[in-house]
Symmetry: C2
């Protein structure tokens, strides 16, 4: 039994910095909780940068594009982050489709998801339809213009869609009934915390499409290794010198472990210390909060 080690001293932080060059961060529950920045996050990120560490932000949230994330970092006063440091699952899915699956750019993607998916596809030069189109907000009927399927659609990408309705689910199913149409999902989180509530996550939307179509998507969110393939297609990290920092055992920590990275869990999100101490080997390290890496230097 290898118990997770709690980071409580400067010496432990220094040892961590010696061991890892690349820090991969989950965002919500680690850097912030919704619109509330967690303590000493700005200082910790600046401190790691000053030590020459590479910072990459890896989030399963598919509703935001990297541009949206950049704005959020700016708003919180986090300096020196560039778009290439951010891997949202919408972007990761788009990169996977483009770089790993070599998607034909004369084809289009049907989106069951938010604006983030459209935006990231557009950046990679891939056309997308469906998704946020307001015509899809209308009730479904036999007259839906979308029932005339677009023969150029070669893939469906599904993610969290807070505008989900029967119209969107029905048209998504029509495309998935064609086995030649690729089926990808940004992530399969069942829920996510929001303002003290537990709300249905991307997986709860995608599961509906999985069940009606009888098909399984290629998943690009944590803990799936397809996400690591997408990251490596751009960054080519030395994984042994990389550590995943997150707040969830079943996504962040599993992702780190399966990918051969180090693992650091912070208790500012979804897990309790009691639960962390029941784990064998993963996470390798844990801390009350990310800000401790900075605070313990003082």
């Amino acid at each position: 039994m290898s118990l997770p080690q709690k980071i409580t001293t400067k010496e432990q932080v220094d040892a961590l910095l010696d061991q890892y060059d690349n820090f991969l961060f989950d965002c919500d529950g680690v850097l912030w909780l919704g619109d509330h920045l967690l303590p000493h996050v700005v200082e910790t990120l600046a401190f790691l940068k000053s030590k020459g560490k590479k910072l990459i932000f890896v989030t399963n949230n598919s509703t935001k594009s990297r541009e949206n994330y950049l704005k959020k970092f700016e708003k919180f006063g986090v300096k020196g982050i560039t778009k290439s440091d951010i891997f949202g699952s919408a972007y990761a899915t788009a990169v996977y489709l483009d770089k790993v699956m070599k998607f034909d750019h004369t084809k289009k993607v049907w989106v069951l998801g938010g604006q983030g998916v459209h935006d990231e596809l557009t950046e990679l030069g891939i056309q997308s339809i469906g998704g946020t189109d307001p015509e899809l907000d209308k009730p479904f009927s036999d007259d839906s213009k979308f029932l005339k399927l677009d023969p150029e659609v070669g893939a469906v990408i599904a993610g969290l869609d807070t505008s989900i309705n029967y119209h969107r689910l029905s048209i998504t199913l029509q495309y998935l009934l064609d086995p030649n149409v690729i089926f990808m999902a940004t992530n399969i989180d069942s829920t996510f915390p929001s303002h003290g509530k537990i709300l249905p996550g991307a997986g709860s939307i995608i599961e509906s499409a999985i069940y009606s179509s009888g098909r399984q998507p290629t998943v690009c969110g944590k803990p799936n290794m397809n996400l690591l393939k997408a990251i490596q297609a751009e960054h080519n990290l030395n994984l042994e010198r990389s550590i995943m920092v997150g707040d969830r055992l079943n996504t962040d920590m599993k992702f780190g472990k399966d990918g051969g990275l180090g693992t650091l869990l912070v208790l500012t999100g979804i897990e309790t210390e009691a639960n962390v101490l029941k784990q064998d080997g993963t996470p390798k390290y844990y801390a009350d909060k990310l800000g401790d890496l900075y605070e313990l230097q003082k």
Copy 2:
């Protein structure tokens, strides 16, 4: 290997009538296809009645109440059907909750589904909220009045809901997070045929609630035996003298077989003859169409 026997002669029909007193019918794909009555259905039902057979209509469609079904039978000119002959899955679920689970009538049901579920609960004297409430058509936000959960809700019933949206899914999840709240589903059909299209069925809606909540519902649609319990709570049939007539192997025929009933598949719905002939023992009989039982008499 016991091959399904095709009904093609008057002698075979007569033998069937000798063997069974109670005929349980699926509706869509057997009696009609959407708004289109199938050939000689009116005559066949009248013929069976004239032979003293009991007719029960068992459908997984939860969006319609028994009143709605009565109107549909009337519209098609089918005479002599009463409400007690009709078992829609909305009614079956309400009966199961009431009679089998002894639901406390001072409690309420939260509905993720159509008007049929509300109507059938009302008939049994059970209050219901959610479902078709137009306030739920609004986009979900932290201000949703439904986030103030009703402490009187003791059960969630989920079924096909063509007004599904994130608001309904989110509130449904809030109730399901309480393990003391009963979780029931009208049926778990993944799809249903409509005007030449395959559309997402009740199961595709319910699966979203299953995945977000991590809970499994008590299911009252075919092929689940809870439906038979609900039917028997009202009709107390001699099952050996009963036969299930339907168009689907995985719902109608499985329901008949598991319940110890005879099975007759008609080819006017979803299955092909080639597929039926691959089956071992179930269905026991099959026919091109239900109307053949009448036509072969001539």
